[in-house]
Symmetry: C2
Amino acid sequence: MNKRDSISMSVIRRLPRYYRFLGDLKKNGITRISSRELSARMGLTASQIRQDLNCFGDFGQQGYGYMVEQLHEEIGKILGVDLKRKTIMIGAGNLGRAVAAHMSFNTKGFELIGIFDKNPLVIGKAVNGIIIHDSCELEEFCNKEKPIAAILCIPREATKDIAESLISYGIKAFWNFSHYDLAISHPEVTVENVHLSDSLMTLSYRIGR
Amino acid sequence: MNKRDSISMSVIRRLPRYYRFLGDLKKNGITRISSRELSARMGLTASQIRQDLNCFGDFGQQGYGYMVEQLHEEIGKILGVDLKRKTIMIGAGNLGRAVAAHMSFNTKGFELIGIFDKNPLVIGKAVNGIIIHDSCELEEFCNKEKPIAAILCIPREATKDIAESLISYGIKAFWNFSHYDLAISHPEVTVENVHLSDSLMTLSYRIGR
């Protein structure tokens, strides 16, 4: 078995964070860093960092530390940030528009090529240069452009039906802001959920403890 | 030591999810559920569910299952969702406005009482009935209203200085959408980070694996 196939989700979830921190170090002209220094900056233990990075190859040298640029580039490759996977967004309400305007998809492995909504007030407008199309054009658009990922910024009630359609149009991966648990009904697709309300309730729990 | 003090963050992070699922069951008129049924719906193992819920008290009965309403209410209390902690938002750009319009704070333990921005184009407008104030009024507002939590929807460069000010004005908890790692420079406050780009990069990693 490839070493990378057995990596736990908790290690994988830390990778983007390493990528961000190393990107900052690089930007600040730092070329080399010890796991001890990195641990102080990231709030992880040095041994945790060594263990995590060891899952992906030999990046560090005992007593010498990590080469910032090389490690940043390597983690970027592992994450697939240079890929430009064709992506569509469904839902151009407040949240959809904020995500479309706020995120730089092309440095995260994706290319946003179309936004869809059924609200006539937003159809034809653009967010970040991306046109908002009428949802009824979705099938035709997918047949022609063949996107593989979809961002769902729609109410929960609407998600099941739209997701079924999108899967039949060839979508393989979802970035899901709706509160519908897609991964359970469709184990064949890759789903990354964003539950902002779970994050807020976690803060609620932690306050005062 | 109180049993609850030693609960791991990974259990805590699952609590809001239980709360959501149980809320749905309740809404659908389901009064009782076995850990096996709950596990099928949530995509967790039954033994995981029993272990998690056991951290907080004896909610289930062997061979009988969980009382949905009671368990929902109990988890809500643990999460503190009924508390109305006075909360302010800093930054009324796309993201801030989307979060203010989209989230129901009052069912998650918080009450949004003011939004602040330095952009004259948005000052004086309202989102969801909450007025956007000029950032220069922040200190006065905090002295008067005594908010304890702040939502940061500002660019990373601005975060350090504003966070320092907010802490000096009495803010104890941050819901942080900026990419500045607040928790490391201020271990005395509670910080819950939302890193949308980390989530997107995790999706990038998982596609095709």
